[in-house]
């Protein structure tokens, strides 16, 4: 198991390295953004670019880039946005918003999703199940931005329940204040619909399969009530699939949702990424790309490994 995990992680870094290299080369092949001719600082910018090695061969630049990361954890500075601010520190400033919004939405989605899933599985093929399954189908299919529009229109404009924009940090006091939370609520809600539906679907599918197992019959015959049998035997086995999914989801929340952040004006990493593309800030773009790639890879690994931790029957890395 330990060996397998190490192997997977090493492989992950190899993949990350390859993607990073390709990304870096492709970015460096792009023409540098034109210098805005304000004042007479053109020569200054040119000099800075020279100093930062922008005119050297790409592979040398890549070496410098890697060296800076490895030795100083230096991801460069912003050129077109957050000028001369450290890329990493800006990212770290933005990350809490993204994490908070997504974390709240998952915390909301887990009990609801699993609850609906259990209910649907217990009522399998009755109208309650059909209703839930239909709703799940609808909620999974409809793109998340449509919920965002609906929530914004009905809850924010029509009913005036929430403010349209996120509270500023200064206004709200702290990230964890109630004011901040309530202004995040529209975004949280619109993110959670899809997640709830997803959790419901998997819980229902897993649980209804588990419920037909022979050991469920045994549990009932040896005298357990239905509730006991379900909570002690069925649910635990169903969790083998659900828990890894939730774990992977937790990693994936770092990436956030570009479109929801955009709609609700959350100053998270998603909007940072979009801005970096729009203003062509390659340092930010590079860092964000690596960040997203890393998150994708990590959530895949967590998903795989947690299977093995939760269910000892699943042997990791064994050749079949």
């Amino acid at each position: 198991m330990g060996k397998y995990i190490i192997k997977r992680i090493l492989l992950m870094f190899l993949t990350l390295f390859i993607i990073m290299t390709m990304c870096f080369i492709l970015v460096k092949l792009l023409p540098l953004p034109a210098i805005r001719e304000m004042g007479k600082d053109v020569n200054l910018i040119l000099a800075r670019r020279e100093k930062m090695g922008y005119n050297r061969p790409i592979l040398v630049q890549y070496y410098l880039f890697l060296r800076n990361i490895v030795t100083d954890w230096d991801w460069g500075v912003g050129e077109q946005m957050y000028e001369s601010l450290n890329v990493w520190s800006v990212m770290m400033q933005k990350l809490p918003y993204t994490i908070l919004v997504n974390l709240y939405s998952i915390l909301l989605a887990i009990p609801l999703g699993i609850g609906f899933g259990i209910y649907a599985a217990l009522k399998k093929n009755k109208w309650q199940d059909h209703l839930i399954s239909t709703l799940v189908m609808v909620f999974i299919s409809v793109p998340s931005y449509v919920y965002a529009f609906l929530i914004q229109y009905f809850l924010c404009f029509k009913l005036g329940l929430f403010s349209l924009q996120l509270e500023t940090l200064r206004n709200a006091g702290s990230l964890f204040s109630w004011k901040m939370f309530s202004s995040m609520l529209p975004a949280i809600l619109s993110l959670s619909f899809g997640t709830i539906a997803n959790f419901t679907r998997y819980t229902r599918a897993e649980l209804s399969e588990v419920l037909t197992g022979d050991y469920m019959l045994l549990a009932r015959t040896k005298g357990l009530t239905k509730a006991q049998a379900i909570s002690r035997h069925a649910l635990r086995n169903a969790m083998v699939v659900i828990v890894p999914m939730i774990m992977a989801e937790f990693i994936a929340i770092l990436g956030g949702s570009l479109i929801t952040e955009n709609i609700f004006g959350i100053p998270g990493v998603g909007s940072l990424y979009i801005t970096s593309i729009n203003v062509r800030d390659y340092n930010f773009f590079m860092a964000m790309s690596i960040f997203y790639t890393f998150i994708g890879l990590a959530s895949g690994i967590v998903n795989d490994i947690s299977y093995g931790i939760i269910d000892p029957r699943i042997r990791m890395g064994s050749k079949k």
Partner: protein
């Protein structure tokens, strides 16, 4: 050790049929054999939701193909006057729904401006008066339903001499009043711009800061205030006149319908009628117009067509590349599989957003936005298809029938295409269909976020439309409603249809994921 048995020759007549003179009870199977696809089809048609979804998809596809052909407008149509119009269907006229009206709370001044427009054109701008109330500051407000089409009212236009004559001919022929008398507004600002076109009455405030509030007479009606002349045909106007323009009491006071200027003639037209004169039809936009004055129906259909085209070509290309790649991996296995899997693994892990962005930055200026988007989708999109095909090949290549064919001397190519592919076709088709909504969603998201820019004069996409409606969500929700509804229906139908296909082709998987 050889064990050859000598078989003695037996002459033919020693054989005889067992059932020579008895009836044979076995019957030949007369029913037609049900093949794999027939079987799948039967299963598919039994799944009602999938069939409904399929029909819905067909309707949406027909919508996307037909509407741009028959629509009188196209994507490049942008009306400078008819922006953010409400959806209107002439069948619903006067019903209070889908009739181009919009509930608004207007103050007293605006209320009278709207009424005045209605008075002059003869088409009531205010469709319904709900109530009049005073707010906390004692300002009077009217809650009314306003016709967004009639609200536009009049416009000052600069016509060339030719256009001017044509307009007059049209008026004479159709007996429809398009050009209306010029208003006598004091401020030249009004005559320069368009704001004053609706002020045909005496204004409370004649300066350019005027809100257009009229001076009301004892019947609470505005007092007309037109430019007058003693020459009825001034500026070469020789056409319809408004009914009460009869020369006045002295028989020598005529209204002015046009003003000659350097480039031609300046006329004040009823824009609704002018639109009819220009396009041969009364303005009526089924889905309304957006903030650029584009017809939403046409734009939506054009965007949908683009999405469908893109999604289907991506799906087809992925089908080809992924099919071949996966077949080679799965069929040959071993080291070939190993190397090819690593390549596709790495590609699979590249976030699509980054690929799309990089392609956009590199290629969009060279091969166009659409082609570079297509490349981006294809670059990572085929990996899923390849792994699906690979799995099917692993499943089937050890089967006896494949071994038998190989023993009979079938070549690799024949084995792949004749023996294994047909068996895995169901899975592949399902995968291809289920990829389509993903592509459409990604495309709409990317264009919504302006990472790709699919908006040109003659091109639009669903994401662009959504982005354009975002700013008007509170005031004109219809702009965002129709694209959002369209994409929601599309997504639901495609998912249901895909699930139906999967169940039909692969009954053992039924219900595993839904």
């Amino acid at each position: 050790m050889m064990n050859e048995q000598k078989i003695p020759a037996i002459s033919a007549e020693k054989f005889q049929f067992v059932q020579q003179d008895r009836t044979i009870h076995d019957e030949r199977i007369k029913t037609k054999p049900i093949g794999y696809f027939k079987d799948a089809w039967l299963r598919f048609t039994r799944n009602k939701s999938a069939v409904v979804a399929f029909i819905l998809i067909l309707i949406l596809v027909v919508f996307a193909i037909v509407v741009p052909i028959f629509s009188p407008y196209d994507v490049s149509f942008r009306s400078g006057y008819y922006q953010t119009l409400q959806p209107k269907n002439e069948w619903f006229a006067g019903s209070g729904f889908w009739d181009g009206g919009r509930k608004e709370n207007v103050n007293d001044e605006t209320y009278h401006v709207l009424r005045a427009i209605g008075r002059e054109t003869g088409r009531d701008v205010i469709m319904k008066d709900y109530r009049t109330y005073e707010d906390a500051n004692g300002i009077t407000y009217h809650e009314v339903r306003v016709d967004s089409y009639f609200k536009v009212g009049f416009a000052y236009l600069n016509l060339t001499e030719n256009e001017y004559l044509k307009l007059q001919d049209y008026q004479n022929e159709k007996q429809i009043q398009v050009a209306y008398p010029l208003a006598k507004t004091m401020s030249t600002d009004f005559l320069q711009g368009n704001a004053g076109a609706n002020y045909w009455y005496k204004l409370k405030n004649e300066a350019s800061t005027s809100t257009g509030a009229p001076v009301l007479d004892e019947n609470r009606e505005p007092i007309p205030n037109y430019q007058t002349t003693d020459n009825p045909n001034r500026a070469g106007y020789n056409s319809l006149r408004v009914s009460w323009d009869d020369g006045g009491e002295d028989g020598n006071t005529w209204l002015v319908y046009a003003q000659k200027n350097q480039s031609g003639y300046r006329v004040r037209v009823d824009y609704y009628e002018y639109f009819r004169y220009q396009y041969g039809r009364v303005p009526c936009f089924l889905f309304g117009t957006n903030a650029y004055g584009q017809d939403l129906l046409t734009c939506l259909a054009a965007g949908a067509r683009l999405s469908f085209l893109l999604a289907i070509s991506v799906s087809l290309i992925n089908f080809l590349i992924g099919g071949i790649y996966g077949a080679i991996e799965g069929y040959y296995g071993g080291a070939v599989d190993m190397v090819m899997e690593r390549i596709s693994d790495i590609l699979y892990d590249v976030p699509f957003m980054i690929v799309a962005t990089l392609f956009q930055l590199h290629l969009a200026s060279k091969v166009g936005v659409l082609v570079s988007l297509l490349f981006a989708f294809v670059l990572t999109g085929w990996v899923g298809m390849a792994s699906r095909v690979r799995m099917q090949f692993y499943r089937f290549k050890g089967h006896e029938y494949v071994l038998a064919a190989r023993t009979l001397g079938a070549s690799d190519r024949r084995l792949i295409f004749k023996h294994i592919y047909p068996n895995s076709l169901g899975t592949i088709i399902t995968g291809s269909v289920l990829a389509i909504p993903g592509v459409i969603f990604s495309e709409s998201m990317l264009s919504y976020l302006h990472i790709i820019n699919l908006e040109t004069s003659s091109l639009t996409s669903i994401g662009t439309l959504l982005a354009g409606g975002q700013g008007y969500l509170s005031t004109y929700p219809h702009i965002i409603f129709f694209p959002a509804l369209f994409i929601s229906i599309l997504m639901i139908s495609f998912n249901l249809f895909g699930n139906g296909l999967r169940d039909a082709f692969n009954p053992s998987l039924r219900g595993a994921e839904d």
